[in-house]
């Protein structure tokens, strides 16, 4: 172990230290809500509880004790993460308990009855740990070290212990590089421990970086190598003493929290500033936030917003916005925070009068609504976006991701250097689209055809490889003996092919093939071939495996898991050697290193290919391969035009995103395109060179942007349906939500005729009370596209002589006011400037990156991704970087194990 202490002591007492002094002073006089007071002081427009809820991180939290129970022997774990680790006071006479405080006045053991299983499991799993305390030591002359917090067995065996050693703090951490007693330990500098109320934080990350902070300031740092895999699962958690009873600590506890990740310096600083009461305040606020996010917002979306959103606003009441909802409607205030009985909304719902002409709320829904109003009607957002609540993913349900066909092809190419594109596309069953993308994990199921294809492809792949040359990358030996070098060879090759180290079971399993080959008189090449063939069909090759065991909360992803997430998100391919090295060395946990890796990977051609896959999926370009317009109506149609349209859009996407490096929203109005002579003629452009050629559209106001390209215009079919085009814009560019038409509605398209253009037919629908409510949300987007026929050709008069228009008025989802446009180009500019469009693209790219539909639980993080990417230019690389750096990628949802 390499210890490299860096002291920055004495602590410089800044404003936060002064606030702390105030806190300590107030605390000593019994004013226990002092930290909340601090928060209110700093942010006068917020309630103290809301600030606490927003500021104190719960990511990775495993146990927290806020001592807000002043009776009995139990000290409750209030983390609400997995099974609680309840502590018991061995001698009640040795402690004094007040709300939020536990004074240890005589030697005592405060310990769990059972092993601290969730700590002993989750912390080794992540390889990271934080121990955070707010304490006041009773005296300086305590040593042993005197145990403040410990997960241990006796004086000689521990997983981790934070203790007092005279005038300094000492932390012992068991790793594969330290001994069973956690020695060498890391100490704070001499004199750093005082008898004041003190915030002490110890953090250790997977790369070995280990720090102690006192009152928000780092005071010691060391590199403690090794993994935490040797933590003893049988050890219990204790406060104030060792289990042997001979290392007592006396003093006051205000807060003890343990995380399975390392808190970052800014988080430590924030926790210090929030004070010891923030955990308690955050717990209360968190419960309210959860109620709104999980119950109320979905309920309002499903039951109320059809008539009471910003567009319909029936009775003048808009329940989609916090400010408008609390303001009320034509009948006055609808919600009286704190009193459901005084709320008109509750009265109407309770009586069954609302929802009008719809089924009443269930008893459970009514109970939630009433509890929410009685609890103060807290909102966690200013605006309820229905799209956020579209998917009701069961909490904790995590789908394993199978490689899609393109991912399989690229993985084979990257892993063994064989191009299997043609065969794979021919014999692998195609991946089907779900929720707009074909990489949606829950839909990536497996049938017999997959198994047959994987077996056949594995044989073909190995047949094309120079197996001996490939094997030489991992072993110089040609021995078949599993006692000799075969196991090492399997381990090395498997780590590469399966994207992470193999365990003993796996090495043994694959080595068995060598045994069989040997017993059949085969040689090393045959054995290596068989092993590769097996690995190519193994679950770890065909799926993106992650350890999903946990407690139902989000945990940091492992090094190799993160490497795979990065590579598949950015490239749709496995990690390269550089990325594997970074994972080997635990460097990916360092945000700077991670950012550098992303920058490097975005320079690779595979990043471009992956982005084109996104565009293909997002815009459903594969649809073009089956485009078959009515030949009688379009006698000049050439089937090759469909292919040209696809090429146009992909080349355009690459030009805007990669060549010009423009913000993603510019895809809507960039004045450039790419066309073959055939497509240029179809568009009415003067054909230039052969092949796909770049065309500047600055002087052609009717063209420019994705929505003016044949690939998207053909979504309307031969009739250039305004419904289909409008819904495409609403769903795929706006993330707007409309309900399906009632079953009784005749949806047969009305044909155009002299005097009746598509626009005129649409306006009739909008004027219809039964249809207009929904159709007015999307058809006006298609008004601006009316001059493009079903195949994307531009005209100003239709075949019946009707004059075609290009103006309209749209209500962008989430906006309070409508927007008017007069021309195609104005509509494109409107969309390109729209924050909603920009955020929707972020949403779509994020969905594709994660391979699953996003839910309300993701909304906050997606917002942060968007803000980060926008601040960084709003480009595709900026967006990908923000996604990869976000908790959606760096954290994984675990499932609670029985």
């Amino acid at each position: 172990m390499k210890i490299m202490k860096r002291f920055r002591y004495p602590i410089s007492l800044g404003s936060s230290a002064i606030l702390l002094a105030l806190a300590a002073s107030s605390y000593d006089t019994g004013l226990l809500t002092v930290s909340a007071g601090q928060a209110a002081e700093r942010t006068p427009d917020s309630s103290s509880q809301e600030v606490g809820a927003a500021a104190r991180t719960t990511s990775g939290l495993q146990v927290v004790y806020d001592f807000h129970s002043s009776e009995g022997r139990n000290v409750e774990d209030r983390s609400r993460v997995g099974p609680p680790v309840t502590l018991q006071v061995s001698d009640e006479n040795a402690v004094t308990r007040r709300e939020g405080t536990l004074d240890v006045t005589a030697p005592v053991l405060i310990a769990s009855d059972e092993p601290a299983q969730k700590l002993n499991t989750s912390i080794p799993s992540t390889g990271e740990v934080t121990v955070e305390v707010w304490i006041r030591p009773a005296k300086i002359d305590q040593s042993g070290p005197a145990r403040i917090v410990t997960i241990s067995q006796d004086p000689n065996g521990r997983n981790i212990t934070l203790g007092q050693d005279g005038d300094k703090y000492d932390v012992r951490l068991r790793t594969t590089d330290t001994n069973a007693n956690g020695i060498p330990s890391l100490s704070s500098p001499p004199g750093s421990l005082t008898t004041d109320l003190t915030h002490v934080v110890y953090t250790h990350d997977r790369s070995g970086r280990t720090r102690i902070y006192i009152n928000g300031e780092q005071v010691a740092e060391a590199e403690i190598g090794g993994s935490l895999s040797n933590w003893d699962g049988s050890y219990r958690l204790a406060l104030a003493n060792e289990f042997s009873g001979d290392r007592p600590w006396l003093g006051t506890y205000r807060l003890v929290a343990i995380y399975n990740r390392d808190l970052l310096p800014h988080e430590v600083e924030r926790h210090f500033q929030l004070g010891p009461e923030a955990a308690h305040a955050s717990k209360l606020a968190d419960a309210r936030t959860q109620l709104f996010n999980n119950e109320i917002a979905p309920l309002l979306t499903r039951k109320c917003l059809e008539c009471h959103d910003s567009y319909a606003k029936a009775g003048g009441l808009d329940l989609s916005r916090k400010k408008a909802a609390l303001a009320g409607g034509e009948s006055g205030k609808a919600i009286a925070p704190g009193s459901a009985a005084d709320s008109l909304l509750w009265e109407m719902v309770a009586s069954g009068e609302m929802p009008q002409d719809r089924p009443p709320l269930s008893d459970e829904e009514k109970a939630s609504l009433r509890a929410w109003i009685d609890g103060g009607a807290q909102w966690s957002t200013d605006f309820i976006d229905p799209a956020v609540y579209l998917y009701d993913r069961p909490r904790g349900q995590v789908w394993l991701q199978r490689l899609t066909v393109p991912e399989y092809i690229e993985t084979v190419r990257s892993a063994v250097g064989v191009d299997i594109d043609e065969e794979a596309r021919k014999i692998l069953p195609p991946d089907l689209r779900a929720d707009g993308f074909s990489n949606t994990a829950y839909n990536l199921n497996v049938d017999l055809g997959h198994v047959e294809a994987y077996a056949e492809l594995a044989e073909i792949i190995v047949g094309r490889m120079d197996v001996l040359e490939f094997a030489a990358r991992f072993s110089e030996s040609r021995s078949l003996s599993t006692d000799d070098t075969m196991r090492d060879f399997v381990a090395a090759m498997g780590k590469w092919l399966l994207r992470g180290p193999l365990n003993e079971r796996e090495v043994t399993n694959y080595s068995g093939i060598a045994t069989t080959v040997a017993s059949a008189g085969g040689d090393f090449e045959e054995a290596a071939s068989g092993i590769i063939e097996a690995m190519l069909q193994s679950p770890r090759f065909l799926y993106r495996f992650e350890d999903q065991r946990g407690d139902g909360t989000a945990w940091p992803v492992g090094d190799y898991e993160l490497a795979s997430r990065l590579s598949y998100i950015l490239w749709g391919a496995p990690p390269d050697e550089e990325l594997m090295r970074a994972a080997d060395e635990g460097r990916l946990t360092d945000p700077n290193e991670l950012a550098q890796q992303v920058e490097r990977m975005l320079q690779d051609a595979r990043a471009v290919s992956r982005s084109l896959q996104f565009a293909t999926e997002w815009l459903d370009l594969d649809r073009l391969s089956s485009l078959s317009p009515d030949r009688n109506r379009f006698p000049d149609w050439d089937d090759d035009l469909a292919s040209d349209m696809r090429s146009e859009t992909l080349a355009f996407f690459e030009e805007v995103v990669w060549t010009q490096k423009r913000p993603m929203a510019d895809l809507l109005n960039a004045q450039v395109t790419f066309a073959t002579p055939r497509l240029a003629t179809h568009y009415g452009l003067e054909p230039q060179r052969d092949g796909l050629t770049r065309y500047d559209l600055a002087s052609i106001p009717s063209r420019g942007g994705l929505l003016t390209q044949g690939s998207t215009l053909t979504i309307g079919g031969d009739e250039a349906s305004m419904v289909a085009r409008g819904l495409f814009v609403l769903h795929d560019l706006m993330r707007g939500v409309v309900r399906d038409p009632p079953a009784c509605v005749d949806t047969t398209p009305v044909p155009t005729e002299p005097g009746l253009s598509q626009r005129a037919i649409a306006e009739q629908r909008l004027a219809n009370v039964a249809c207009g409510g929904c159709h007015s949300k999307f058809e006006p987007y298609a008004f601006g596209l009316e001059r493009f026929n079903g195949l994307g050709a531009y005209r100003e008069i239709d075949e019946h002589g009707n004059k075609l228009l290009e103006n309209g008025v749209v209500l962008i989802p989430g906006a309070e006011q409508t927007s008017r446009y007069e021309s195609i180009s104005e509509l494109m500019d409107l969309l390109a400037r729209s924050d909603r469009v920009s955020r929707s693209i972020t949403w779509k790219v994020t969905q594709f990156a994660l391979g699953r539909p996003l839910t309300a639980a993701d909304a906050g993080e997606v917002d942060r991704i968007h803000e980060t990417a926008s601040a960084d230019g709003g480009t595709y690389p900026a967006l990908l970087k923000a996604i990869v750096m976000s908790d959606l990628v760096r954290m994984k949802q675990t499932e609670a194990m029985p």
């Binding site: 995590v398 694959y510 059949a520 097996a534 495996f545 999903q548 065991r549």
Partner: protein, 473 residues
């Protein structure tokens, strides 16, 4: 035991009178003196067991660890003081040397090759130079074993070039498929390829099984997805291996094996835990099927292995013989050790002629019981042939092992006094005796070859032959 025995009679009954395509079955059922000589084929098999019997224990005859062979004593020739020291190859593990030399008389030649042919193959090649009838498996190799690494530990039939004479069938089901599935020749590339593909698929299946099992790192949702994938693989497996190429008249497929196979059976030489019941259930099913293949004349040459050379298992369970409790196996606890140091293998290394060696004796006794189980299958009423003798009596069956003393510190001692036994081969060799031969294995084997009417000999061509006539009837 979890399964009943399988005999020709029960097997025939199980197929409901369907005639199994057996070219010699009718002749075997005819008890005709005139047809006897022609109807009794030449057969040669080797039965191998791991770790051996220390020479001093062999002197106890059937009163010691050889007790289970006593019921067959009249049909066996026990040969003591047979020396395999010439098989020592510097730097190579003596387990491997001794095992490879067993009935080849030659040291190994590389990881997967013997130094020469095995006895059964010399006879086969000499008497059937044009090959065996196409209905037969040319060389049937099977076994219940766990130690892997080098092939010589568990395969005991080698061709003249020292390569394996057939593919090891280590699961009863595999052996069943080999006998009743598509018929192929020794070098049939399809059969061999199929075996390797099967091995690949087995490894794949094991991976999916793990990820759907109790220790899977996956949550319930993902585990269900992988379980679905595994079901599809099972379907694929069924279509590719269970349906294709199967003899339509073959009996039902035996139950799947419950013990470890492939790589899992030998986790880096550290040994596996296994109960006596698991071990004997697997072995006896294998032994039943192998014996059935011989009875049905689907195989005339080959070898069967009960525990490999240098086998590493941690055996548990009560061991009884004829209603008498012999021992309670609990290797790890009795060694007070884990991993490889807790395996029964260590009893051989700890052998001390001055002590009782209770554990080693119990293990060796149990092995003899299981060897006797197989041999007795060839000696039951179903196995009576046209000449009125049983297959056991008519065949040349050699029983071999690897070492005569488990202590690794003296190779000469370790490879001397290696236990050997043979059957009469239709009156060619003495039976009902225990002989102290004081001879080299190579001379014993070459004497047997000559007696069988086969051409050629084992070992260096220029070596002077030293016949061991004492074994001849």
């Amino acid at each position: 035991m979890k399964t009943g025995t399988i005999s020709r009679r029960t097997m025939l009954k199980s197929v409901g009178g369907v005639t199994i395509g057996l070219p010699l079955l009718e002749e075997m059922l005819v008890s005709s003196a005139t047809a006897a000589e022609a109807a009794v084929p030449v057969r040669a098999f080797n039965v191998f067991f791991g770790l051996g019997i220390p020479a001093p224990l062999q002197t106890e005859g059937f009163d010691g660890v050889l007790e289970p062979l006593r019921p067959l004593a009249d049909k066996l020739l026990i040969m003591r003081n047979v020396d395999q020291i010439r098989c020592d190859e510097s730097g190579i593990n003596a387990h491997y040397d001794g095992a490879t030399g067993s009935f080849t008389a030659e040291p190994p030649d590389g990881e997967a090759r013997a130094g020469g042919p095995s006895l059964d193959q010399v006879v086969r090649q000499s008497l059937y130079p044009e090959g065996l009838p196409p209905e037969m498996v040319p060389t049937l190799i099977g076994g219940t074993f766990f130690r892997r690494s080098r092939v010589g530990r568990y395969v005991h039939s080698y061709k003249h070039d020292g390569t394996v004479a057939g593919t090891m069938q280590e699961k009863p089901r595999d052996l069943f498929d080999r006998v009743f599935g598509r018929v192929g020749t020794t070098d049939d590339p399809d059969a061999r390829r199929q075996r390797l593909r099967r091995s690949v698929l087995d490894a794949v299946v094991d991976q999916y099984k793990f990820y759907t099992g109790a220790n899977s790192p996956l949550g319930a949702t993902s585990r269900a997805r992988v379980a679905d994938h595994l079901q599809r693989i099972r379907e694929y497996e069924q279509r590719v291996y269970a349906l294709a190429g199967r003899d339509p008249d073959s009996p039902d497929v035996p139950p799947p094996s419950d013990v470890a196979h492939g790589g899992e059976a030998d986790p880096g030489g550290m040994g596996i835990d296994i109960t006596l019941e698991e071990l004997t259930t697997e072995w006896r099913l294998m032994a039943d099927l192998y014996a059935l293949a011989i009875q049905l004349d689907r195989a005339r040459f080959g070898s069967i292995t009960f525990l490999a050379a240098g086998e590493r298992i941690r055996l548990t369970g009560d061991y009884e013989y004829e209603g008498r409790k012999i021992f309670h196996f609990d290797d790890a606890a009795q060694h007070n050790a884990t991993g490889d140091q807790g395996c029964s293998h260590e009893w051989w290394h700890k052998y001390n002629p001055e002590k009782q060696n209770e554990q080693l004796r119990a293990h060796a006794h149990m092995k003899m019981r299981e060897v006797a189980y197989f041999l007795s299958k060839l000696d039951d009423p179903d196995a009576v042939e046209a000449n009125g003798k049983t297959i056991l009596e008519n065949s040349m069956i050699t029983i071999s092992t690897e070492s005569g003393d488990g202590r690794h510190n003296d190779v000469k001692r370790e490879l001397s006094g290696v236990f050997h036994a043979i059957t009469g081969a239709n009156g060619r060799f003495k039976t009902g005796e225990i002989l102290d031969l004081n001879a080299e294995g190579i001379d014993v084997y070459n004497t047997m070859i000559r007696s069988m009417g086969a051409e050629g000999q084992l070992g260096p061509a220029d070596r002077e032959m030293r016949p061991v006539d004492a074994i001849l009837a």
